[in-house]
């Protein structure tokens, strides 16, 4: 992979952000609202629940980590959608840019945009609701790593789906995190779920993260083995998502879909 072509994709997104408040505000507005909303809910629950159980760490922390995952995924898909919306595929894919460089550029764009969201969330959660990430210890680094890698995998997979199915398919993409959330056990232990749902949860890396969050808050240590397994799963999904994107791109080149993308279907 070469650095300059990847930087070009990221620079393109930076230019778009710089010139468009409509793109900048969503980077922090929705996550900010989420933190405020769940911050007050957690504070209220603290006031009515038995003393000693801290909903701030368990609920607000989970919301923050989940929103981080969503921002990572959307960081990739939004950068990809810019090419969809500006009908830029022909210009982009007729260049020496390789698929890995293109995806690398989308990932850099996502890192930059989700970092803004994460910073705003941390600031709000710690300043107004007293959430301390230090309580998670070094496991926090593992949490963020697992969620980051899985978020990138989701973003790449979603982009491939839109490349294959056409611009209208972006509406399939937005609800993906909402569909996964019940299985990931963001707000409740996985033991709450029926058996068939737990089977699916076992395949989701975020499920291990949120179980670990609850273990730490209840005074136990996070399971290093579980987090290592989650990281391995996330890495596997990332490899599969990149393979899927490359395969869809090959299909698009074989069928002429890239050259006639606005037609949505070639049948």
């Amino acid at each position: 992979m070469r650095w300059r072509p990847m930087a070009a994709i990221a620079l393109r997104y930076f230019y778009l952000l710089r010139g468009s408040p409509a793109r900048v505000v969503p980077l922090f507005a929705w996550v900010g609202i989420d933190i405020v909303l769940w911050g007050f809910i957690s504070r209220y629950l603290n006031s009515v629940a038995s003393a000693g159980f801290n909903f701030i760490s368990i609920l607000l922390g989970a919301v923050l980590l989940w929103d981080f995952l969503v921002r990572i995924m959307q960081g990739v898909t939004m950068a990809f959608f810019e090419d969809v919306w500006s009908r830029n595929f022909l210009n982009i894919f007729a260049t020496p840019l390789t698929i890995s460089e293109y995806l690398g550029g989308l990932v850099i764009s996502s890192i930059a945009t989700s970092a803004v969201g994460l910073l705003v969330m941390l600031l709000l959660a710690s300043t107004f609701f007293g959430l301390s990430f230090l309580a998670y210890g070094v496991a926090l680094v593992q949490f963020l790593l697992v969620l980051f890698v899985f978020g990138i995998a989701l973003g790449v997979f979603a982009s491939a789906a839109v490349l294959r199915l056409g611009p209208a398919a972006e509406w399939f993409i937005w609800p993906i995190p909402a569909l996964l959330a019940p299985f990931a056990g963001v707000f409740y232990p996985l033991s709450t779920l029926p058996g068939w749902m737990r089977l699916f949860s076992n395949l989701l890396p975020p499920a291990y993260v949120f179980e670990s969050v609850r273990r730490i808050v209840s005074g136990k240590a996070a399971s290093a083995a579980a987090l290592a397994w989650a990281a391995s799963l996330a890495a596997l999904y990332l490899v599969l998502a990149c393979w899927f994107f490359a395969r869809i791109h090959r299909y698009a080149v074989r069928t002429g879909l890239i050259a006639r993308y606005s037609a949505e279907s070639l049948s």
Binding site: R4, I9, L11, R12, S20, E82, L90, T95, T98, G256
Partner: protein
């Protein structure tokens, strides 16, 4: 290009065509709508895989060395404007980075000057007229000093004066031997003025090939437009000759 063939189901879009474009040469790719011109260009650009046949750019096989081969090409087409939400300079910088152009700032300044885009440098491409957008696409196409330049109806939305300036500029660079150009156009006067050689395509096959004046003499036609109409209406008659 060797034995390039592309089919869409039962439809044969390009039927085993072979040709080359030499350095210092402008080759016109002509034919009626649906003849296979854009399909051919898309295959050379690597955005459409041929069913069979190969594309070699400066000896590099496109299928085997995609990136290195495409570093030596560029294109401009009326149906592929640059993103309208970026300025002229931003678009050129992004594509310059993708093509890994050396001394990029200087090169951008040069092409902006060459295509009379100085006053539009910081204007978003979507706010430009179609003719101005065409000039931006052409500036992008020149950015990496391609060895093979593909121009799909490059002057279609330009006024006659601007079109002549562009033709002169491209002719000038081609004469210096900087590149070879594959040029499609429905403007036969333009083709006659600018092309060293033309290929007439019909139903995916090359029916005629040669310098414009030689083809006119050979087929007893007064103008290239007459010859084009003959190819479009009666391709079988010409195929039999």
């Amino acid at each position: 290009m060797t034995e390039l063939r592309k089919t869409y189901g039962e439809i044969v879009a390009v039927d085993g065509i072979s040709f080359d474009v030499g350095r210092g040469e402008i080759v016109g790719l002509l034919g009626p709508n649906g003849a296979g011109k854009t399909t051919t260009i898309n295959m050379i650009l690597g955005v459409l895989a041929p069913d069979s046949g190969s594309v070699r750019i400066e000896g590099l096989d496109l299928a085997a060395h995609r990136s290195r081969a495409l570093e030596r090409t560029n294109f401009a087409a009326v149906y592929a404007p640059l993103p309208g939400n970026l300025t002229v300079a931003q678009n050129l910088r992004i594509f310059g980075l993708i093509y890994r152009v050396g001394d990029l700032a200087e090169r951008i300044a040069t092409v902006i000057e060459q295509f009379d885009l100085v006053r539009f440098r910081d204007v978003r491409c979507g706010a430009l007229s179609s003719g101005e957008q065409t000039r931006v696409s052409l500036a992008k196409a020149m950015l990496n000093r391609p060895r093979l330049l593909l121009l799909d109806e490059p002057t279609a939305s330009l006024d006659p004066a601007a079109a002549r300036d562009i033709r002169t500029l491209i002719r000038e660079f081609t004469t210096k031997g900087e590149w070879g150009v594959l040029w499609t156009s429905h403007n036969m006067y333009e083709v006659e003025a600018v092309c060293d050689r033309v290929l007439f395509l019909s139903h995916g096959k090359i029916l005629l090939e040669g310098p414009p004046q030689a083809l006119l003499r050979e087929h007893g036609m007064a103008t290239l437009e007459d010859l084009f109409i003959a190819v479009a209406r009666e391709p079988l008659t010409l195929e039999e000759r």
